[in-house]
Amino acid sequence: MTLELSHLHRRYAGFAALDDVSLCIEPGEFLALLGPSGSGKTTLLRILAGLDYPDSGSVRQNDRDLLAVDARERKVGLVFQHYALFRHLTVSENVAFGLRIRPRKSRPGRAEINERVERLLKRVQLDDLGKRYTSQLSGGQRQRVALARALAVEPDLLLLDEPFGALDAQVRVALRRWLRNLHEELGLTSVFVTHDQEEALELADRVAVMNRGRIEQIGTPEAIYQQPATPFVCEFIGKNNRIPLQRANGVLTGGQRQLGADPWPGNAVGSAIGYVRPEHLLVSSTPSTDGWAAQLRHIYLAGGVAHLELDVPALGQVLEADMSSDEVAQRGLQPGQSLVVQPRLITAFPLDARGAADAAARHVLQPQAAS
């Protein structure tokens, strides 16, 4: 059951929620739609659910036009951020809802419904709470009821809209690992919307990063993190130091230091933008001409990892470098110390005359130490 979304456009009064979005969802895949608010991710999910319709474009499921199918016939399981449970029904009645409302012909018998509800409640670990009303449950329990309710109708596609958004941090992590396991057990094609990159990277098989109604990049969590394709992805996913670069005479420089040959054709004089992850900044205590001279301003210890705040006069900015807390202790690094910083991996984009980055001309530089 491959889902093919092509050239979807959706405008709300003067605002493009979706701007030419094309996407292929593979059977059994767990896909995350990740982006800031207003990036169009929820609109995309609602179109898949049949609760919203695109102005143009198509959604096909194998050879079937999904947009011609009414929301209630799409066989889609939907889970909302705020649970959207039926408050006047008990947990069991909530889960049974989708089965009980079926026309008599296709409705399973009472015993079968009860059995199915019980099985589902067991699956979401709520088997002893069936008789409670939903107001008597915690947030994590409510979301599991919502999930059981969505699974009860045996959907072809499971859609989750910020499913952990309303939960507190601990429950959130526990529930998402649990959901990942459940997905592996069921093999159900699932799409979930989130603005939490950690959640997307941890949970999904593939992540689609969205911004301003467009998909910036789609790929595995590793690819999204290791090989960000656009400046937006560089800035949105993980941490990145943003460094201005100069192009002149076939050489790329940054902070008065040559970083390598100008990778772009045209021998132009101009500027570019480079992104370096904190873990790709090599920090050495021995004075050397291979990197930027820097002063250690502050060390933020965050458990096993230490974030080093480095003032680099050559760049006129502060860089952040990461290393393990153990290493900081071993090397006896102290605030105020003079250090040398070297970028090991830079993702660079050339800028045009108006200062706009060209994502298609992305280039990854690995500056070599002169030694």
């Binding site: 209630r72 449970l85 408050r87 107001s135």
Partner: protein, 277 residues
Amino acid sequence: MGHKRRRVLPGFGISLGYALTYLGLIVLLPLAALVWKASALDFSGWLQLLSAPRTLAALKLSFGGALIAALFNAVAGLLVTWVLVRYRFPGRRLFDALVDLPFALPTAVAGIALTAIYAPNGWLGQYLLPLGIKIAYAPAGVLVAMIFVGFPYVVRTLQPVLETLDRDVEEAAESLGATRLQTFVRVIVPALLPTLLTGFALALARAVGEYGSVIFIAGNIPLRSEIAPLLIVQKLEQFDYAGAAALGTVMLGFSLVLLVAIALLQRWSGRWAERAA
């Protein structure tokens, strides 16, 4: 246990005392006086009062009419509230303000206005009469007046609740395969039912007690379009104070039974919201 529960606002004792005294003075004292006055009537007097066909017809019209009017208002009020809350259209605010008009209008004025419209020579009455529908000077007129005065209660109680009703829930029902009718009957109505019953009870109480507008449109034909409050006024005019008080007590008892029944129904319909986690 043992611990005194801490409250954010102090003065529970004094405010409870005030509330009870106030309730006693404003509500219970006059009612007690009514019952005390009615006790002046001896057994045969009660028997005579309660077996009189005119009394029975008036009570039947008052309570039956009020029930029908409140039921009508519950349905129509739900519809109007739905439109006011869920749709955006030009003039919505004006429409919204108009709902309160029956609250503000002196009921006699309302009665005269309704009579002018529904009288056999009135704007609507002249077209309804050839169809065999007689509203003014008939039991139907009593109903029209009762509907008019009770209408705002349903809208105003439902409105805030409908505004906070989560639309996700409707979408969840739809994606689970519910038709629009199923979503309405199985999801929306149960969520609104406790509030709808409150509105129903208020509209009912108002219709039972209505006097001013009804007597203008009803025609007050004994055994046909005469309401119980009018009988009370007539008894007062004949200086039959005990009889008037007795009839008032009977109305009071009926109203109490109805309101308690509605309150129980309401509690049952809202049982899911009672104990929060």
